[in-house]
């Protein structure tokens, strides 16, 4: 007999099992659950003042209103890290005495319909005595700064994280370097802006005393823990379900105060309560991110080797700490990962999180990496110009190419292809040809530019990665750690007595096609078709504890756990089959739903083995458990995908508008489980990166009032603003991921802003304009172009006068 090589399901662009129901309009998002229920609706009265003291809250009779005074027994949200530089603050569920940002929930009203709840909202009067608002890092850290929270700050005022790394050899190397090149980069505040805003629906069941919360979240288990802790109840009193979730991008991985209120009210009133956030509220109160300014200085040799990096990183984190990842998420990630794929030896960094009277931050696709990459990639281009080295060549020199490689922050870069992705991208880009086109265009008065961005995308963060954010701490003998350390993913895989395969996962997808991709991984091991593998997720009653889907981790973590569980279950099937067919388990192949003896060719369907197991358990050979079940946990320290992006742009000098005319991605996300899904993640990510680079900006006025509260002010791109995105793949695997997949959820957004900033800077190089602060909106560019032209004109006339 020749061995039949079963086809691999992994690696194929299978259409997603998720899609048919959504395409038919049968998706179930939280608002759809509410629409089918005669629930009451909650609306939130929000502060219109950035900082102030609440003087009074009044509502006419008949308005059902909750204020902080009605929250007996309800705790506060506390998200903390065990670090000496970390300052813990507390987030009340409704503002108590003081308000700290515009949009902060001050009271909740309830009514029988959504429209009536809106009417009730208008009848509530909140009187707030304004205090001076702290609106910038400079104001917040000044000597006599007003404190956003009345707590002790051991360092600068309002500074809640102040991390530092200084490698021993830094001073000497830095001082001796031939060239020191510095850049300051920054990003405006931005919103992840999932198309579905936040929503929750709590149903109280008098029969069991339990409450079921449908909520649009990326991490149902963790949200349940957070809710139970704040409400002072047991987790099993709550069932949390994330039904279809209309996008997350990080903005749905923090515990929302509003959700606490919805659950609290449902339990107290013993009624079903829903809250459907408006787009305006989503902009004001549903987490911001990316308001960061980085000063970065690189020390280079004469030949362009980057020896050392010095950095001062400042993140404006708003008024509260998001649960569970805390307001340390941006600065601590930046401190650890700034130097990215470059072989920097010495490093000196200070990285701060600073409070302000603005909406709190939470992760948004890439967290601080878009700004980190902007810093390093601008540094490369500016240095290339200064040292007169080709920018691609300068990158090539400095990219890490031997693995594993420990970077100065202590992280270890595992197998990657930094040089190869850069080479592939440069090839596709054909820079020589571009330069010709650029010159021709310049003669016609048109400004073209090209920009590169090479980066490493740390993915699949497990417990070791999150634990590293805290100083090592001892568990107290009889108390819980007051720090939450996310990480592992866990799955339970079972074959039932009809040979149906079901996997229950702790991760919680929201559009990534994880059901399809996990089924592909499992089906290869078990020898069944992917559409025979049912993936159950996002229901705390039905799935093992897990951390959810964020940080490009689900495929690495839940995928790894699924693979391990599938291997174990496959082993069990082989054992059972060998007792029926003879031989050893190693002689048995699994394919097409049956176990086959490789030599004799005899086979037995899984159905028979499953029936044996459950219905004739007294006969099964090893007298094992009467179940075909495998549980697996996967918890690596993390891996790195890597990529190089290239953008071509055309800048209209008259309007300052930028058209992205070409976008290339050479991506190495390891093994591609479902290439179509991977490409979809890259495309969507790149477009968010383009948005971050050119369009999207949350703007506060000088009193701390958010002025960009609709989709007419905050401008996500449409298809009009987006070029075709060309993608090339490399597939470098790593021992850090058992499936070989490295995760790819954020790379597009991480790399694109820097590529675009470099491209726009290239287009405007003749005017001496460097684009370092994003978004590069038409207004900003036009202003820069005008003043550069005016300066050049003045220069010329000066010279003419002089001659």
């Amino acid at each position: 007999m020749t061995a039949v090589v079963p086809p691999s399901w992994t690696g194929r662009s299978l259409p997603r099992v998720e899609d048919p129901s959504i395409l038919r309009g049968h998706g179930r998002y939280v608002a759809d659950v509410a629409a089918r229920d005669r629930c009451w609706y909650a609306k939130f009265v929000r502060s219109s003042i950035a900082a102030g003291r609440i003087v009074g809250i009044t509502a006419p009779p008949g308005v059902r209103i909750y204020t902080a005074a009605d929250l007996d027994g309800v705790g506060e949200i506390v998200a903390s890290l065990a670090r000496p530089d970390f300052v813990t603050t507390r987030q009340p569920i409704l503002a108590r005495d003081v308000v700290r940002f515009v949009g902060e929930p001050v009271a909740m009203v309830l009514a029988e319909t959504e429209a009536e709840a809106e009417d009730a909202l208008e009848r509530v009067v909140v009187e707030i005595e304004p205090l001076p608002a702290v609106l910038s890092v400079a104001d917040a850290t000044a000597d006599q700064a007003r404190l956003v929270h009345d707590v002790d700050f051991p360092g600068d005022p309002n500074t809640v994280v102040d991390g530092r790394i200084h490698t021993p050899g830094f001073d000497e190397v830095f001082a001796a370097a031939a060239h020191r090149v510095s850049v300051q980069v920054g990003s405006a505040r931005q919103s992840a802006m999932p198309l579905e805003a936040r929503a929750s629906h709590a149903a109280y069941d008098p029969a069991t005393g339990r409450t079921t919360l449908h909520v649009t979240t990326q991490m149902p288990h963790v949200i349940r823990t957070g809710l139970a802790d704040v409400l002072g109840i047991r987790e099993d009193d709550l069932r949390v379900i994330a039904p279809d979730v209309g996008g997350g991008f990080g903005a749905k991985m923090a515990l929302a105060r509003e959700d606490v209120m919805v659950v609290h009210a449902a339990r107290r009133l013993r009624r079903n309560i829903a809250w459907i956030e408006t787009r305006e509220e989503n902009f004001m109160a549903a987490w911001h991110s990316r308001e960061q300014v980085y000063d970065v200085e690189g020390a280079f040799t004469e030949d362009g080797d980057l020896l050392a990096v010095r950095a001062d990183l400042r993140c404006d984190v708003g008024a509260y700490s998001c649960y569970p990842v805390t307001y340390g998420v941006e600065p601590l990630m930046a401190m650890a990962e700034l130097t990215g794929p470059y072989a920097v030896r010495e490093y000196s960094v200070r990285s701060r999180a600073v409070l302000s009277n603005k909406c709190p931050i939470a992760p948004y696709r890439g967290v601080s990496r878009p700004v980190q990459v902007l810093a390093m990639e601008r540094l490369m281009d500016v240095a290339a110009r200064r040292l007169d080295i080709d920018p691609v060549e300068l990158r090539m020199r400095n990219l890490v190419h031997e693995f594993p490689h420990r970077i100065p922050s202590g992280l270890v870069l595992d197998n990657a292809s930094h040089r190869q992705t850069l080479a592939a991208a440069a090839d596709l880009a054909d820079v020589a040809d571009f330069r010709r086109r650029q010159r021709t265009a310049r003669d016609e008065g048109r400004l073209l530019g090209i920009g590169f961005s090479s980066f490493a995308e740390r993915t699949g963060y497990g417990t070791p990665a999150f634990a590293a954010r805290s100083a090592p701490f001892e568990l107290k003998p009889n108390a819980v750690a007051d720090v939450i350390t996310p990480g592992f993913e866990r799955v339970v895989l079972a074959m039932d007595s009809s040979a149906g395969v079901t996997v229950r996962i702790g991760a919680s997808p929201h559009g990534q096609g994880l059901r399809t991709a996990l089924a592909q991984v499992i089906s290869d091991e078990l020898g069944v078709a992917p559409d025979e593998v049912r993936v159950i997720h996002s229901d705390t009653d039905a799935t093992p504890y897990g951390w959810g889907s964020f940080a490009s981790r689900a495929m690495v973590m839940a995928g790894g756990a699924s693979l391990l569980a599938a291997r174990e279950l496959a082993g069990r099937l082989r054992t059972l089959a060998s007792s029926r067919l003879g031989g050893l388990p190693g002689d048995i192949d699994l394919s097409d739903g049956e176990a086959r003896h490789r030599e004799t060719g005899e086979s037995v369907p899984f159905f028979v083995l499953a029936r044996d197991t459950y219905h004739s358990s007294h006969l099964i050979p090893d007298k094992g458990e009467p179940a075909l079940e495998a549980t697996a946990t996967y918890d690596p320290s993390g891996t790195f995908a890597n990529a190089c992006h290239v953008a071509e742009v055309e800048v209209d000098p008259a309007t300052g508008a930028v058209a992205v005319t070409r976008f290339l991605v050479a991506e190495d996300a390891g093994r591609l489980v479902n290439p179509a899904i991977v490409d979809g993640q890259i495309q969507g990510g790149v477009v968010q990166g383009i948005a971050n680079a050119l369009f999207e900006e949350l703007i506060y006025d000088d009193r701390g009032v958010l002025v960009t509260t609709s989709l007419m002010d905050y401008l996500p791109p449409t298809l009009h603003e987006v070029p075709d995105i060309e993608i090339a793949h490399l597939e470098t695997t790593s021992p850090q991921s058992v499936t070989g997949a490295k995760g790819v959820g954020e790379g597009g957004t991480i790399g694109a802003p820097a590529a675009i900033a470099n491209a726009v800077s290239d287009a405007l190089a003749h005017l001496g304009i460097d684009v370092n602060h994003l978004p590069a909106t038409p207004h900003r560019l036009r202003t820069a172009i005008r003043s550069a032209q005016a300066a050049q004109a003045a220069d010329i006339s000066d010279r003419e006068t002089a001659s």
């Binding site: 998720e18 048919p20 038919r24 759809d32 009536e116 198309l195 996500p716």
Partner: protein, 159 residues
């Protein structure tokens, strides 16, 4: 309680007699009163297009229209797009095959937008399709596959 009025809506060939406040939008009436939650609300101010439906064959933002204005019209929503439980509409099938959706929240709006366009003009070319698709927002896909799917559907429907 505000005053309600009785109205009659024809949606996907079915008649719905409902009692609503005159201020109720068509989107809310479809979702809450007709039980058709396939039409999604992403902004309720007319920008995102998630609520796009067909009213007398023309794409309409259901969040910008009052339900009372839709009396006497023929309304189509995503639930009425597929001919039956077995088959999909060509636009739905193309979105599936070309991976034109991720979270799916924008999808019903895009499907109705494209179905409306192609039923009126099956030979829509790519340039015009880009214009049409630019009326709606998707936050997940980067639009690449939405465009591919729409052109694949155009090919099938004009072929």
């Amino acid at each position: 309680m505000s005053q309600t009025v009785p109205i009659r809506l024809y949606v996907n060939g079915d008649r719905h007699d409902i009692e609503i406040e005159p201020r109720r939008t068509l989107a809310d009436a479809l979702r809450d009163d007709c039980g058709l939650t396939g039409t999604h609300l992403g902004c309720e101010h007319g920008v995102c297009g998630a609520c796009t439906i067909l009213v007398d064959g023309k794409p309409v933002r259901a969040c910008l229209m009052f339900a009372v204005q839709a009396e006497g019209t023929s309304i189509r929503t995503v639930e009425g797009l597929a001919p039956d439980d077995q088959q999909l509409h060509p636009v739905q099938r193309a979105f599936w095959e070309k991976h034109g959706l991720q979270c799916g929240f924008c999808t019903p709006g895009f499907l109705m937008l494209v179905a409306g366009q192609l039923e009126e003009k099956p030979d829509t070319d790519e340039e015009e399709m880009r214009d049409v698709l630019s009326s709606n927002l998707c936050r997940c896909t980067g639009y690449q596959n939405i465009l591919k799917a729409s052109m694949a559907a155009a090919e099938e429907m004009s072929g």
